[in-house]
């Protein structure tokens, strides 16, 4: 194309508006980006604001009501009595048990997750990397109930774990463990050990992903420099890898901790008759009909998580999410 051809057919620098309602709207959006922004934000904010935040406030309001012990009716007047009930010994037990379980599950997940995440981040390449990624994503997204069901099959008295231990002549080990107080029980599927294993299994992928993301950002030559300077693998782990992976571990622990605090299905299906916070909430609002106490109970994990998130933010965990 020659220069003359371009000059003979000039295009105006500013095109005329396309006209009509559509053109007018398009022009308006361009001239007033704030209006477009408002229009884009309004539907999601209205939905989340009304449905979600509204419900949370409804719940919070309920926790300040109280239940009439004789009639079982809910008294809609402001009172702190329900929160007082929370500090009864039985309820404190439930809270303590749940928080302890959440802490143990978080710790165990971190220990199991680290080698997987480290291998995937530092050594896996190409096809293996994809395999590791899918290997974590598949269990993460598989049905939650199916995973619990699988463990019910495994931990049952007549199940595969007992069979395997019998083949290895290790049944005495299982029996010895089950005869221990607190962690033991009739069989693994009705003990705290069983609950613990299933919690770790179900929430483990939530720990692996952020730890891997944190480790991906650690340059390999940092580890080499550490060993060049004479550190043993253990020292390298303690002084180089672990501090750099910590934000990822804290980010993952947000999930494992929060999810364990609120779960009521796992301890109900695999566990003892002693309650966790989630089960207490469920039975208070269901069979007992004491919605104020149920609401007060749900405030506990929210407060615990509030402190947890505050601490996590100070450790820089949100950059690793």
């Amino acid at each position: 194309m020659t220069i003359a051809a371009v000059q003979s057919n000039p295009t105006p620098a500013i095109l005329p508006g396309s006209g009509g309602l559509r053109g007018a709207l398009s022009d308006l959006f361009w001239r007033r980006p704030k209006f477009l922004l408002l229009l884009m934000l309004a539907p999601p904010l209205l939905w989340l604001g009304i449905v979600y935040i509204g419900s949370l406030f409804a719940l919070l309001a309920q926790s300040f009501f109280s239940i009439d012990e004789f009639s079982g009716l809910i008294n809609r007047e402001f009172t702190l009595k329900t929160y007082g009930d929370l500090f009864q010994a039985a309820n404190l037990d439930i809270i303590l048990r749940t928080v302890t379980m959440a802490a143990l599950v978080t710790l165990a997940s971190a220990v199991i997750a680290f080698p997987i995440a480290y291998y995937a981040a530092r050594y896996a390449r190409g096809r293996w990397k994809a395999l590791f990624y899918l290997g974590v994503m598949l269990p993460l997204w598989s049905s939650y109930l199916v995973k619990i069901y699988a463990w019910k099959l495994i931990l049952a008295k007549e199940g595969i774990l007992t069979w395997l231990l019998a083949k290895l002549n290790l049944l005495w080990l299982l029996d010895g463990w089950l005869s221990l107080p607190i962690v033991g029980g009739n069989s693994l599927s009705v003990s705290f050990t069983g609950t613990f294993i299933v919690f770790v299994y179900v929430w483990l992928p939530f720990m692996i992903l952020p730890v891997q993301a944190a480790l991906e950002r650690v340059p390999g030559n940092l580890v080499e420099a550490s060993s060049d300077l004479g550190a043993s693998p253990g020292q390298t782990f303690r002084n180089v890898l672990f501090p750099l992976a910590l934000p990822g571990i804290v980010a993952g622990s947000i999930f494992t901790f929060s999810l364990t605090l609120g779960d009521y299905i796992i301890p109900q299906i695999i566990g003892t008759s002693r309650l966790f916070i989630g089960q207490a909430v469920y039975s208070q609002q269901g069979t007992a009909g004491n919605i104020p106490l149920a609401a007060a109970f749900t405030v506990v994990p929210v407060v615990v998580m509030g402190f947890y998130l505050w601490g996590a933010k100070r450790m820089g965990a949100f950059d690793a999410l």
Binding site: L15, W47, P115, Y119, G159, Y264
Partner: protein, 271 residues
């Protein structure tokens, strides 16, 4: 240039990583064996015999089909709502800077960050305060709320990689806002939306904790399974349903992975 290419991993690390992955996968594989067992009354291992008769039995169970149909309808509508809300939110947050931007990302993530039981009981107490009876739509209301975050995460990751200058170029070349959206923005984010939509569908299809609070007497597939887990009536049918659920949820995960694998984002991070 990374200097660690070609380095071998220590044996201990390999074993620990392999054991971890086996721990994650073997239990799910076990479900496939149990679906064929001839044993009806217990979870005995090894299975005394293998049969395919339970597939036929399950096929002829109307309660399973009802639950499946309800689950699919709820998941489809929740996904549609989540797609619209999540995309709008992601577009607003990633393309512009404004006051309260951080608060909005927090608001979107909150329904998934707080334990499900809180979302569930909050919705239930709101329904009871407002005198809303349980229905199909109360389930959708809950599901759409926590599905938004999945779409949002995928869309935000894609918007970040999409250069804003392409939109400006499109406008400079004379396209109006709608044309730009249709021909420039949409093709760029389509696969991310598809991936987000599939994961949202999987999330809704699988959700049980919030649903127990918002469903009333209705049964979705997870609620049906939960009932069977608490009070086992027909174990073989449960085995088959469990296996089918695993197979069905595999599809969206694989597809979402292939749709987003060229990116560096993690499609399901923060489920």
């Amino acid at each position: 240039m990374r200097s660690d290419r070609g380095q071998r991993a220590p044996l201990g690390l390999k074993i620990a990583a392999a054991c971890g992955l086996l721990f994650l996968h073997l239990p799910i594989l076990l479900i496939f064996v149990y679906a064929f067992t001839t044993e009806e009354k217990s979870f005995v291992w090894p299975p005394p015999g293998l049969t395919t008769q339970w597939f036929a039995v399950t096929w002829n169970r109307p309660d399973v089909w009802d639950a499946l149909s309800l689950s699919v309808r709820v998941a489809a509508i929740s996904t549609a709502i989540a797609l619209v809300l999540g995309t709008l939110c992601a577009a607003a947050v990633s393309q512009t800077r404004f006051f309260g931007r951080e608060a909005i990302s927090l608001l979107v993530i909150l329904p998934i960050a707080l334990p499900g039981i809180i979302t569930g009981i909050a919705l239930r107490s709101a329904f009871s305060l407002a005198d809303i009876p349980f229905s199909f739509w109360t389930i959708v209301l809950g599901h759409a709320t926590f599905c938004v975050v999945v779409v949002y995460n995928n869309a935000v990751a894609r918007f970040r990689r999409t250069s804003g200058s392409m939109i400006e170029a499109s406008m400079d070349l004379g396209a109006d806002g709608f044309q730009t959206f249709r021909h420039v923005v949409l093709p760029n984010i389509a696969t991310a939306l598809l991936a987000g939509g599939m994961l949202a569908f999987a999330l809704s299809f699988d959700e049980v904790i919030v649903t127990t609070f918002t469903a009333g007497q209705q049964q979705t597939v997870p609620i049906w399974m939960l009932e069977e887990l608490i009070r086992p009536r027909q174990r073989p049918v449960t085995n088959v349903v469990a296996m089918v659920v695993v197979l069905v949820t595999l599809l969206p995960i694989f597809s979402a992975y292939y749709l987003t694998r060229d990116g560096d984002q993690i499609a399901g991070s923060g489920k």
